[in-house]
Symmetry: C2
Subunit: 493 residues, 2 copies
């Protein structure tokens, strides 16, 4: 394992000064220039595919196929957000033309989104590419017009460094200002804190644990000038098994979920950690089948020893709780740093009474909640904290018959899946990857999909400007041909 020296205060200060200087140049770059730069990163990243996947395999223990897919997705994200950047819909251009004859005269007003300033990005340990150095936060911030400072995740610092070199090379090729991108090492929390507290930092993107994300949020709120933090902090992603659908396919659902729970050793923020059913013969069939499936899944090595240790501790703590039964454990004994697939079960009442059972166990673990009836299932749903996703295994009749449950879950998550699994986050404009606290620190935004660009931008209004001095996006005649709301009507004219 490579070791990297933590950045010093002096180095951080120099990095942030360069970042600010780069911001003053970069925010005047056109959408096309920004998009070109991001596309160059995508191309350059593709060109080191073999070596960077090899490095990531070593650092994260993730299998090659998974990492290759993730790299492909990362390249897709970069190109997709570059396309969205250039298309310009995210700018939310509004124009209200003057009415000089009105009393008082109505001024000419035009508005678009402008970048916030340097963005500090904390990558995720479980996605060394897609949610890390050149991941979604970086792509969104660059599209918004913000320089990026990545704090390398210590668990894949070498991979991160290789990707950072690619970004810096792409920046030079694209003639971007020095300081448009910086890469900082730091194993402890001090480097992260210094970056968040620096006066030139204007926003933060984070993917990781509740403890990590909440600390960043608190630091940011305590600054003299508070700044927005978008921290995606994981979730238990409850799955509700509705009676009609479950009676039709208890075994198929169990097989589907055994796969989702153990995919990538359960190391996904959308991993289904809670499965809620009504205690009857169908649920018993489901539990038995799920247990049988889980027993056959071999333990696999987790991302790094810290995560393996946390999984072991959180799993033990959950299993030790009163009224929690262990349903199944993988039969093959785990080696060091492996996560052992595990299913537990508890009654609805036990869940309602014990906050420990609401907490995420990051890894291949899921708790099945047996509710005595639909009222108890609704009570469980009402008690649920904010989630990234909620899944309903349900027929249309189930959905029609259970309006209160439907409305309750709509109010506590960012995405509701019908008859599927929460793992697998499609990168597209309609995706919402975010949700009410504690899933994220700002439910009003997403970290996946091009709408994520808006996390790092703010509206700026131009009143009574001469047309020739307006940004091209706002000029008469719409020279960029983007969608704009002109006098309350959307138009490309």
């Amino acid at each position: 394992m490579h070791t990297f020296k933590d950045a010093t205060e002096v180095e951080i200060n120099r990095v942030m000064e360069q970042s600010w200087a780069a911001f003053e140049v970069y925010r005047t770059c056109s959408l096309r220039q920004r998009a070109g730069f991001i596309r160059t990163i995508a191309t350059e990243l593709g060109s080191i595919s073999a070596s960077v996947v090899a490095a990531a395999m070593q650092e994260t223990n993730l299998p090659e196929a998974r990492l290759k897919n993730e790299l492909t997705r990362t390249i897709f994200q970069l190109n997709n957000y570059a396309g969205a950047c250039e298309q310009g819909n995210w700018l939310e251009v509004r124009i209200d033309t003057a009415i000089p004859e009105r009393t008082p005269p109505k001024p000419d007003l035009r508005k678009l989104l402008v970048p916030l300033g340097p963005v500090v990005v904390f990558g995720a340990s479980n996605f060394p590419f897609a949610y890390s150095t050149a991941g979604g936060d970086t792509a969104c911030a660059l599209a918004a017009g913000c320089p990026v400072i990545v704090k390398a995740h210590p668990a894949h610092a070498q991979t991160s460094g290789m990707v950072a070199e690619v970004i810096i090379k792409a920046a030079r090729q694209s003639k971007m200002p020095d300081g448009i991108f910086a890469h900082v090492y730091g194993a402890g929390f001090e480097v992260g804190k210094s970056l968040v507290m620096h006066t030139h930092t204007k926003a933060v993107g984070f993917t990781g644990s509740y403890t990590g994300g909440k600390a960043l949020f608190d630091w940011a709120a305590q600054r003299k000038e508070p700044i927005p933090v978008f921290a995606e902090m994981g979730s238990t992603n409850p799955v509700y098994l509705l009676p009609e659908k479950l009676s039709q396919s208890p075994i198929e659902q169990a097989k589907l979920y055994a796969g989702s729970i153990t995919l990538s050793t359960g190391q996904f923020c959308t991993n289904p950690g809670l499965i809620i059913g009504i205690d009857n013969a169908d649920l018993q069939k489901f539990i038995t089948a799920l247990g049988r499936e889980i027993e056959q899944v071999p333990p696999s090595t987790m991302l790094h020893p810290g995560i393996a240790k946390a999984f072991a501790a959180n799993r033990s703590r959950a299993l030790m709780q009163d009224q929690v039964n262990t349903v199944a454990i993988a039969q093959q004994p785990p080696e060091d740093n492996q996560g052992i697939p595990t299913i537990a079960s508890a009654t609805g009442q036990a869940f309602l009474n014990n906050p420990v059972l609401h907490q995420e166990v990051f890894g291949p673990y899921s708790l099945v909640i047996r509710c005595k009836d639909m009222d108890e299932m609704i009570a469980v749903a009402k008690r649920m904290e904010g989630q990234l996703t909620t899944t309903l295994i349900a027929t249309e009749t189930d959905m029609r018959n259970n309006r209160v449950l439907m409305e309750t879950v709509k109010n506590s998550c960012g995405r509701i899946i019908i008859n599927g699994v929460p793992t697998g986050v499609e990168v597209c404009l309609s995706m919402q990857h975010g949700g009410p606290f504690p899933a994220t620190t700002d439910a009003r935004f997403t970290s996946v999909g091009a709408d994520g660009i808006k996390r790092f931008a703010r509206p700026l209004c131009f009143q009574n400007w001469p047309n020739s001095l307006l940004p091209d996006e706002l000029k008469d005649g719409n020279p960029l041909g983007i969608w704009r709301t002109v006098n309350n009507e959307l138009t490309k004219v």
Copy 2:
């Protein structure tokens, strides 16, 4: 003056429980139902025009004409936001249709904005109608689908109570759930704190002082579940006098600004508190003319004794600073609780060295900064904190010749006005009333214009839902006929 009893903890708890129950009903109401309710408030408010203006005159000391205008604007806002609510563009509907043949299959994903939950609104003392009980925050929250709890401003509690009765009457007429709107009295900060800290509160809207807004922000951030706060906390609204334009019209600019500085006794958050020029003969002409104008403006009674006292103290403190000269004071002596129009002046160097001179003096006061050259003006601009507005008095040549200044001011405010005054905030979609901290606590949103609705909403994604159970906004065939982004293209089909 009427006195109102502060709400007790028990009462606040009851109000919040009712508000939550109302939320569970109201968020399922259609856009048309929400808009109908908001329009009924507008109509009912119009019907008590005479009595509510009379009450406000007594409580705020604002003149009748001003209050009538403000009421008209408030009714316009309600109708305008109701129209935007119904039009549905603010929902940001995105649809990506399924591609089942892809590997892996692409699911059907559809997204729209949904309400956050009960919103606590703190009205402004200087706008008893437009930024208070039935003001912009309330209208936006109701349009978003959120119940509203207004904490009455103690300085116009009777007016607030009359408006609240109108809203409750409109709610009954529109068959809205009980608890959709609540009105709470509280003279001290305890009631406000209890409301912000209540677990059912999901967002806060505020217009007022930095001290008040920052306290709400800090409480909200310290909750177990932090919630978003949109606090508009005022601003010094710098005005830059560029050389060519100033040389053309120093006297006219002085007259224009004497009016803007003293309008409504200077009690606007967009009041021009700093005027920055380059020290030359033209600036001297401007200062002399501005002083002569100000001397002729009679002092007028401020909103309430607390504001008059704060103005007197802040004005004295500013005038006492080293290297600050008093340019002009209104000749007519002030009576009790009147604000006396005042102009002071200081060098650019003095401003750069003294943070006190950067602070807002809320009332009819402005400080003219005399810079030794354009470099010093740029240095002043770079040091400026976040602002609601910045104004440039400039010819096109001035703008072309001073790109660095232009780019600097773009980065520190929400609205840039060319050759006008910052006072007067047009209610339209292109308006940005907001800006970098400390102007507001979240520069990514506006509190004026229908885009303000988005402060109180978050995206919710529906994956693989049966069409018949989707919200109408997301259904195939677009039954509501709203603009939607379908497979990356904006369309009404």
